[in-house]
């Protein structure tokens, strides 16, 4: 393809010259998107200049993704206009968005793992050659681009062999290769260790310095403060504020995002209160009974790789043990093995001293296990069924909910009413199908069902995923309450803030194994980050 290769550098010089004028590179005005009667975006303005890193901040459901889907050509707004370089552009398709220089790095990567970096980057591009792709030239271009922006990428590497951070760099490069001048990153740090996130920030700063406009979607305030130059806060589909980041503070942003100040509960506060009332529980830790003991556990996918690799773990009464790690390092599988959804290849699992390695789920529940699974839609709830049916799912065979196999509707109604009341489930009534509840209310049903059994062992996997701050605070308070009631809690999460706020002890998983364990007092984010990358600290 003669004539296209120098375009990359030429384009940037144009952009930089544009930067000197006062017209923003991207200017979205009065964007309105509705789904039926629901208004997802209402009169949203967003202007981003070349060379600017602009944070788009908001809770789940605030309308960030909707706005970005409009920009990426995946949604046509009901009202509003989009200007690129001051010119109104109707973006009607993803292809058009690409032509205009808009590139998006999705949270879940769109890469073919068996292909090389160069093959993935060129996928679907006619410019590479329709029948016989000229990958050599492409690889050279990729190398050049990578050098320009400080991206460490080998064009001939296979995607499957790259780390998550490496794959993310490929996604960024893919967008740049397609001529992106406006780069959207959707929660890019969710899959990274803190160190990897730092590396990403360096790349983004270098891109901005050379004229790219970057939209950084996040709900992590410290990242927004550290990286971005401007910030737009969305709440309930509307812009609450647009500000220069340096002139705001994390606290103020949080308040704008949530609409009210909500303090997430912390174990530290509990410990301070306990210290005031008597000796610390930790002093007699060795003497406490183990609720859960995992010994040399190995799990493997059917005819596949080892997912849990010789894990040893103890959870004692009255403590929260956090399992940290980058997503996909065996935490999910460990939790499944403990609750009985996955069989162990070798090793043992004991609950309250009883070996349950080969026991079914029912036996583990009888011993006091409760499970808050990561995927509540698939694993926890029967969505077409009512709140009432879901409330009694694990206990239908127990008195008083049934006698001699006959269901006692009244007893179940009592349980359901108690869960709706105690866990503040917002619903039209016990007959409402669980699938029609909001995510937060669904999670309250899951929590309420688990905790109404007064479990001695609680396995909670990503218990706050997809919840707003208010619901997260509620979930965290419930976990702390279980700890106070003497239950053992195993908290699996990829959110470091969550782990740090709630755990008595933290173990870190990497590639199926436990890299190390940190007591609450010894934890620093740096040490955790190193361990999450596989280095024992």
């Amino acid at each position: 393809m003669p004539g296209t290769s120098p375009a990359v550098t030429a384009e940037w010089s144009i952009t930089i010259s544009m930067n000197s004028s006062s017209i923003p590179l991207l200017d979205m005005r009065g964007i309105r998107v509705t789904f039926g009667s629901f208004v997802a975006n209402d009169a949203v303005d967003l202007a981003v200049a070349a060379g600017e890193i602009h944070a788009l901040l908001g809770e789940n459901g605030a309308g960030k993704s909707t706005l970005m889907r409009v920009l990426a050509g995946l949604l046509v707004p009901a009202a509003g206009e989009i200007r690129i370089d001051g010119k109104i552009e109707p973006i009607g398709s993803a292809h058009e968005a690409m032509r205009l220089g808009i590139g998006m790095v999705h949270q879940h990567f769109m890469l073919v793992p068996t292909l090389t970096v160069a093959e993935n980057v060129c996928l679907g591009l006619a410019s590479t050659g329709r029948f016989i792709p000229d990958l050599k030239t492409a690889a050279a271009k990729i190398r050049e681009l990578a050098k320009t922006y400080g991206l460490d990428i080998d064009p001939n590497a296979r995607i499957a062999d790259l780390s998550i951070a490496g794959q993310q760099r490929v996604e960024i490069l893919k967008a740049l290769y397609r001529g992106a001048r406006i780069l959207i990153l959707d929660e890019p740090t969710a899959v990274l260790t803190p160190q990897e996130a730092e590396g990403l920030f360096r790349i983004l700063r270098s891109l901005a310095a050379q004229g790219t406009a970057i939209i950084f979607i996040s709900h992590k305030l410290n990242e927004v403060m550290a990286l971005t130059s401007k910030v737009t806060v969305l709440r309930l589909g509307k812009v609450v504020a647009t500000a220069v980041t340096a002139e705001t503070d994390a606290r103020g942003l949080a308040r704008m995002m949530v609409g009210a100040e909500i303090n997430l509960p912390k174990l530290e506060d509990v410990l301070i209160a306990e210290a005031a009332n008597g000796p610390l529980k930790g002093e007699v830790w060795a003497e406490r009974d183990p609720i859960l003991s995992v010994t040399d556990l190995i799990c493997r996918n059917p005819r596949g790789p080892v997912r849990v690799d010789r894990v040893n773990l103890v959870v004692k009464a009255g403590e929260i043990v956090g399992v940290a790690g980058v997503d996909g390092n065996g935490q999910q599988e460990l939790a499944e093995a403990i609750v009985g959804l996955r069989s162990a290849e070798s090793g043992t699992i004991a609950i309250e001293g009883e070996d349950v390695t080969r026991a079914n789920v029912a036996r583990r529940i009888a011993l006091g296990l409760a499970h808050i699974p990561e995927d509540r839609h698939r694993t926890a709830l029967v969505e077409p069924m009512s709140i009432r049916d879901n409330a009694v799912l694990e206990r239908i065979g127990d008195a008083p909910f049934s006698k001699g196999g006959w269901i006692d509707r009244q007893a179940i109604d009592g349980l359901t009413a108690a869960i709706i009341r105690d866990f503040d489930v917002r619903a039209s009534g016990p007959d409402q199908p669980v699938g029609t509840l909001s995510g937060g209310n669904q999670q309250k049903v899951v929590l309420g069902r688990a905790l109404s059994r007064d479990p001695s062992l609680l396995v909670a996997v990503q218990p706050a995923r997809g919840l707003d701050v208010g619901a997260t605070a509620f979930v965290h308070r419930q976990l702390l309450a279980r700890r106070a009631a003497g239950a053992g809690v195993l908290l699996v999460s990829t959110e470091l803030d969550e782990i740090l706020a709630l755990s008595d002890r933290i173990v870190v998983m990497f590639k199926g194994g436990i890299v190390g364990e940190l007591a609450r007092a010894d934890v620093t984010v740096e040490r955790l980050g190193l361990m999450m990358a596989g280095r024992a600290a």
Partner: protein, 358 residues
């Protein structure tokens, strides 16, 4: 009503599932009417003749009820299996084996009192049907074979196996045809209405419908069955025995289809014959779907389809509309039932194609 304030209280509303079934039937009859008109007949005349024949006379009503029996029993079994997430299309073969077992026991036990012989025949029929669907269950649970394939294949095996038995070991030694000897009076279901073929099988149906209803909505195992069918992973996470429940779904379907075979043998044919069923086990799949896998709904759907089939030949002779029209209507009912889910898609497509667009 003690629930929260509803801004607009619905006066009376059918459950969406039920209204969907009724709509599908009405739509099928409307399209059928167009076809009848195309033949040059007044649709009202044709439908009038059909339902007059099926419901308007003592004998017609009796025949409709006789035909309701196998459709309802098989439909009930298929519906329960559906509820457990099992798509058993093997009721036909299970019915044939059930009928054969009933016939064999009935012939062998000649001389025993009816109170012993009839239950023995029924139990043998249920066991044979359950055994046959149990085979498909084993294939699914052991090898993850899709029951949609295995049950339909096992139908052919079953029907040919029955044919072999009727030509060989079970053949009436005093006859030329491939059938068992005639059952004695004590091996027959009593006739309920003199001068008709209406037999006590319809009472078995009513009992089965009530029992199935109680099981699904009042018993813990019925609750578990519904949970497994809707979300097996959540069922497992809640400590339920998912594999056992799936096995049960297969077995109960086989047993009920086998019982239908017994009712046909002991109530209608009075011996096991080679062509026991004109596809009851297949029509029953539509019956289960149209009845929304609800026991009383299944009964109503079975009655409707029985009436259609009984009235069809009269419609042909009285109004000159081919009786195969009823098959067309059955097919249309299925299309409209399944197609209901596609309605929003079709609307969207039209909207994109001919609506505002860009």
């Amino acid at each position: 009503m003690s629930t929260t304030e509803l801004t607009r209280a619905p006066r009376f509303r059918l459950p969406p599932a039920l209204s969907g079934s009724i709509a599908a039937v009405i739509a099928a009859f409307l399209v059928g009417a167009v076809l009848i008109a195309a033949v040059g007949v007044n649709p009202l005349t044709a439908y009038g003749a059909l339902f007059e024949a099926a419901l308007g006379t003592k004998n017609g009503l009796a025949e409709t009820l006789v035909r309701t029996v196998p459709l309802a029993l098989c439909g009930l079994g298929i519906a329960l299996a559906f509820r457990a997430g099992v798509f058993n299309v093997g009721a036909e073969g299970q019915l044939f084996l059930g009928g054969t077992a009933a016939g064999a026991v009935g012939v062998a036990g000649a001389g025993l009192p009816a109170l012993v012989l009839l239950p023995a025949m029924a139990l043998a029929a249920m066991a044979a049907g359950a055994l046959w669907s149990g085979l498909a269950a084993w294939l699914k649970l052991r090898f993850r074979s899709d029951e949609l394939i295995t049950t339909i294949m096992l139908n052919y095996v079953a029907i040919h196996l029955v044919s072999f038995l009727l030509h060989g070991p079970l053949k009436d030694p005093n006859g030329a045809l491939a059938q068992t000897a005639r059952l004695t009076a004590d091996a027959r279901l009593p006739v309920l209405l003199g001068g008709t073929r209406l037999h006590a099988g319809i009472l078995i149906v009513l009992v089965a419908v009530v029992l199935a209803h109680l099981f699904l909505w009042k018993r813990t195992n019925g609750f578990r069955l519904r949970v497994v069918g809707l979300n097996p992973r959540a069922a497992e996470n809640a400590g339920m025995n998912v594999r056992g429940t799936i096995l049960f779904g297969f077995l109960v379907c086989g047993a009920l289809a086998g019982l239908a075979g017994f009712a046909e043998v002991a109530g209608v044919q009075r011996r096991m014959i080679e062509n026991l069923s004109p596809g009851f086990g297949y029509t029953a799949i539509i019956v289960a779907l149209l009845g929304q896998t609800n026991p009383f709904g299944v009964l109503a759907a079975a009655f409707l389809f029985a009436a259609l089939q009984i009235g069809a030949s009269t419609m042909e002779s009285a109004a000159g509309v081919p009786s195969t029209l009823t098959t067309v209507i059955q097919g249309l009912v299925v299309l409209f039932l399944i197609g209901r889910a596609a309605l929003p898609l079709i609307r969207d497509w039209f909207g994109r194609r001919f609506g505002g667009g860009r």
